[in-house]
């Protein structure tokens, strides 16, 4: 999976032509569980069942719940990836500078690094 598709899946999945209806409803499941869980109702589970078995829905829901819980906790600890986007082992201070305060994809981090190099 490319970084461009990953970005599209986060920011633009509903309108993107790169995702199947099954992928779109799974991405919506993740987004709504984090932002508007009241919208993940019986009708929404009905939409999920059009594409996924109950086993797969439980797998997705557990995975999403786990990630909602842990990423907020991890965000408060302020730790950053061990490696830079170009594969160098970097200190936490350098990694914080590279990846910043906001989550970003490796693709956008590489673009920013490239822009810094030419400026």
């Amino acid at each position: 999976m490319s970084e461009a598709k990953l970005d599209d899946g986060i920011d633009n999945y509903a309108a993107s032509a790169a995702f199947s209806p099954a992928e779109k409803v799974a991405l919506a499941y993740a987004e709504l569980m984090g932002t508007s869980p009241e919208k993940v109702d019986a009708a929404f589970y009905g939409r999920l069942r059009e594409h996924y078995s109950e086993e797969e829905i439980v797998e997705l829901g557990t995975f999403i719940g786990f990630n909602i819980g842990y990423h907020t906790f991890f965000g408060t600890i302020k730790f950053y990836p061990l490696f830079s986007p170009d594969g160098r082992l970097v200190s936490q201070d350098e990694s914080a500078r590279l990846y910043g305060d906001q989550p970003m994809s490796l693709g956008s981090a590489r673009s920013e690094q490239a822009a810094e190099k030419v400026s």
Partner: protein, 179 residues
């Protein structure tokens, strides 16, 4: 009926999973409903229930404090299922409903709580209400009362249980028995 129907216990063939569900039921958190829903994916069910039990009952942070935090988070997540469940171990250790209610609503001013309990309850409160407030200053405050190992224990407990509560809220499940 929950949005994913729990499997009948007799349909769960994995003996290890059935034993884990029984251990959870003995504690009271979660009761069999959660395990029977997760049992549709037995490998997920086993690691999830094991982590849930371990994070709630092992370690060196007072189990009663974790139980207060857990109920408070479940209410914040508006999860009727986990809000209604109670740890029998915490109850046997003296945690009553009045204290749980105070922990959920007025821990900052209620005289029954120590400063250490207050900062832990605030940590849980802020984690999902306003994580920007869980900053270096708050970790500094936590370190005045807890070891780094205990802070990791608390943080991991909060993250794991809150995540499962959000999932369970969307399923619309309720406990097997009134508590």
């Amino acid at each position: 009926m929950p949005n994913i129907e729990p499997l009948p216990l007799e349909a769960i063939e994995d003996a290890e999973l059935r034993a884990l569900i029984a251990r959870c039921e003995a504690l009271g958190v979660p009761d069999a409903v959660f395990g029977r829903i997760l049992a549709r994916v037995p490998a997920y069910a086993k690691v999830t229930l094991e982590a849930m039990l371990h994070s709630h009952t092992e370690g060196s942070v007072d189990h009663r404090l974790k139980e207060m935090i857990r109920v408070s988070l479940a209410r914040f997540a508006r999860d009727q299922y986990f809000s209604a469940l109670r740890s029998r171990r915490a109850q046997q250790a003296g945690l009553d409903e009045a204290t749980i209610e105070a922990a959920c609503s007025r821990y900052e001013t209620d005289p029954r709580f120590t400063e250490a309990q207050r900062v832990a309850l605030r940590y849980a409160d802020m984690m999902y209400l306003d994580p920007n407030q869980v900053d270096a200053a708050m970790y500094g405050e936590l370190k005045r009362h807890y070891t780094e190992a205990q802070i990791m224990e608390l943080g991991a407990f909060i993250a794991f249980h809150y995540g499962m509560q959000v999932f369970m809220r969307t399923l619309g499940a309720t406990p097997t028995l009134p508590t």
